[in-house]
Symmetry: C2
Subunit: 245 residues, 2 copies
Amino acid sequence: MTYCVALALNGGIVAMSDTRTNAGVDNISTFRKMHTFEVPGDRALVVMTAGNLATTQAVISLLEERGKAPEERDPSILRAPSMFQVARIVGDTLKEVIADQSGTGPGADAFGATIILAGQIAGGPMRLFLIYPEGNFIEAGADTPFFQIGETKYGRPILVRALDRDMSFADAVKLLLVSFDSTIKANLSVDAPLDVQIIENDALRLGRGWRVAPDDPYFRSIRDGWGEALRDALQALPDFDMDAV
Amino acid sequence: MTYCVALALNGGIVAMSDTRTNAGVDNISTFRKMHTFEVPGDRALVVMTAGNLATTQAVISLLEERGKAPEERDPSILRAPSMFQVARIVGDTLKEVIADQSGTGPGADAFGATIILAGQIAGGPMRLFLIYPEGNFIEAGADTPFFQIGETKYGRPILVRALDRDMSFADAVKLLLVSFDSTIKANLSVDAPLDVQIIENDALRLGRGWRVAPDDPYFRSIRDGWGEALRDALQALPDFDMDAV
């Protein structure tokens, strides 16, 4: 499994992904699921993948290769004029790889993958897309300023409740670490290290990106503190009166 | 979908279930998924069901009918000598109904269901079981003193973090309402009214049982207050220092 989230804040994008992959519970590995592309002054993109690892690695390799090829030959996410065109290229590449790998045989679903794409190209706004295995995609809006892929459910309630487009990058990182902690605690196939990438609006270059190790002191303070904070939050709610029923 | 939870506290069992059923998002109804059985002074049982409604209703009808039949003819959960025997009867009945309804055709999985059984019989302890469509079952222990069935993921993190076997029934009801609120907010196919049943240890009769309406004032105060309480909890965690990366 996998867990990746991207938040579209007023200040820009904060993206986080785990690194665990598994083929059964007895065959786990660490692979990067977050990939960044940058043409400083022109564009900054982050791509996160969930699903079949052979599929998603092939998609990323094709996107990278085509970025280096002459423009005439292949559309490239490094030269497409808008984020919408970038999303189309990523979607088409994903659909093509899935078709190549699965053929028309049974079990084609096993080759599926889902992608989060976020970024900004000079002259356009920051945009955030969720791209489906069929190659089509949706864009985040003001009502739902985030996307999750992979094991989305455990970490969703805190995002729904606490996400605020005005929040700082630091608060967003804190929120995401809590969301990842809930998921990691519940699903063995999601785990640290976690990759984090920030893209500030109108910077047109990648912002800070780093890896949170399993034993990162701040992450550990979140993991240790969140249980207590939740119990305190529960305590703070009005008590139920058993005599009322 | 469905969401049902039973907590095994030191003081007894607290069970809660939603009442929404759906066949597609355009065909929703309200059905009770919690069923209670009682022989005062001898036993008190609560059964909650998730899965195919035709299957679960048939199981409950058979359990009720067999309770009224002469003992020789059918094993009854009202006469079985132990909770283990009750769990076997419920499991066998579930397996039998699924086999009857699905035959061996394709799509047999669609007839599946899962059951939570909790209760106590005179001379034995309070016990809590999770019964699978195959008719076999597992029992809750000190390490995992609760079971969930149906849409379990959204409401799980708060249970994992805040459940304490020593908590009062009132605190347990509060905790469960928060867990249900997270689930209801995220999944359209889970909704109030919610059924609640308490069975105190060694009472050997059903304790308080009631229904929480969607507009119940206490439930509303939880739903309104939880968002703020979560945001406060997040605030209370140490802030992330962006300069540290």
